[in-house]
Amino acid sequence: MREIHVSAISDAVKKLCMEANYDLEPDMLRAFDRALTSERSPAGRQVLEMLKDNAQLARTRLIPYCQDTGFVVCFVELGQDAHITGGLLDDAINEGVRQGYTEGYLRASIVKSPFDRKNTGDNTPAVIHVDVVPGPQVKIMVMAKGGGCENRSKYKMLTPADGLEGVKDWIIECVKTAGPDACPPLIVGAGVGGTFEKAAILSKKALFREIGSPNPDPAIDAIEKEVLERANRLGIGPQGYGGDTTAFAIHIVTYPCHITSLPVAVTIECHAHRHKEVTL
């Protein structure tokens, strides 16, 4: 049994939270450049250029890419041969969030109760999902999830008769209703199958795949490409000012489901797609 002290977890989460907010991943920078080669709208091109400048300024001056520095969503793949020592895993993650947001000049955006709406002051707690996996390692994946786009995420229980076409139409409907509000160009994560909560979690985890990379399943990859093409024909464009780049990617993850069901959860993610991961 390999021992990992909670302080190593906190330190890692702190670093990931800060880096995610200042340093956009290279796949997003490549997505901006790719879009600039095909975007016809002058206003859309101006937005994409500004986003490239924004990423550069965020990285060099350590100013958060977006003032909404997000809700920390943390996926942990906990090796079953690893033993967390010195405290609780959740506490360690939240301590990392607290330190990262306080010391990193990141915005506190979380309220303690959805009803009284008092800010917790340090952006805790995170939303934490843990999967137990083989091996002695712990993989921590952190996303700083913006609220504006999260507000446009949606869920629908389709029927088996709605089928694949129903799923495609629903994803397009979600992109259309997200429109300019969710800061397009978007990344769209779709969780299809499982149960109500399983589909929602898959739709979030789907966002971590590298933008522009193919889905490992060639049949689903073809579906993703078709839906992306349709999304980009909607005309919404960067920031909704009109254009050809409404989404950078559609990521679909599936799971077996009940004979009566076809759940589809769609997480809408903005171009401020801030995520980092580390393996301890």
Partner: protein, 190 residues
């Protein structure tokens, strides 16, 4: 006039704005705003509502002014402000017509507004500007001075008086019924 057209075709906007200034702006116009912007978002607007309903004064006189929907991230030492991009305007739809009736001339955010707000822009002569969402680091460079003027307890949602220079935005909804989002989508849909 507080709205003039610069040599590069971009409109220079300097609040406070008059009805004539507002009428000179059309959906799709690129603008640079210089002067004062007041920040306010969900929590501050929620506090405005009972004041408006009871004819009590707001923390600042909204006549001719622009409210910027934003909650900035904290400033690092030596910096004026942190990241300061727009938040979604539709969450303030409930409050906007009442503020426009009091003489507010501009709102700046991102995303679509309700039919009621768009009608109020026509009725009271107002403008909804769009700033580029998620470009908060770039936009911070146009802010020269910041002062919290009310509701400090709200933290990022406090009302701040920003002095800006050449702050870039675009007219999304004008007072003539124009809507950049509708026009843009129609033009590029395939």
């Amino acid at each position: 006039m507080s709205v003039t057209t610069a040599a590069d075709g971009i409109k220079e906007v300097v609040p406070p704005l008059s009805d004539a200034d507002v009428e000179a702006l059309k959906a799709g116009d690129r603008v640079r705003i210089s002067g004062v912007l007041y920040t306010g978002r969900d929590a501050a607007h929620a506090r405005f509502l009972p004041l408006i309903e009871n004819d009590k004064p707001l923390p600042f006189d909204v006549k001719g002014q622009i409210i910027y929907y934003t909650g900035p991230s904290p400033a690092r030492p030596g910096m004026v402000i942190g990241s300061v991009g727009p938040t979604t305007g539709s969450r303030m739809d409930k409050y906007a017509p009442g503020l426009l009736a009091l003489g507010l001339k501009g709102m700046m955010g991102k995303g679509s507004r309700s039919r009621e707000v768009r009608e109020a822009l026509q009725k009271y002569k107002g403008i909804y500007f769009g700033a580029v969402g998620g470009a908060g680091a770039v936009l911070s460079q146009f802010v020269k001075k910041v002062e919290i003027i009310a509701y400090e307890d709200l933290g990022t949602e406090a009302i701040r008086r920003l002095e800006v220079e050449g702050f870039p935005a675009i007219v999304v909804n004008d007072c003539h019924g124009g809507d950049l989002y509708e026009d843009g989508m129609k033009q590029y849909a395939r």
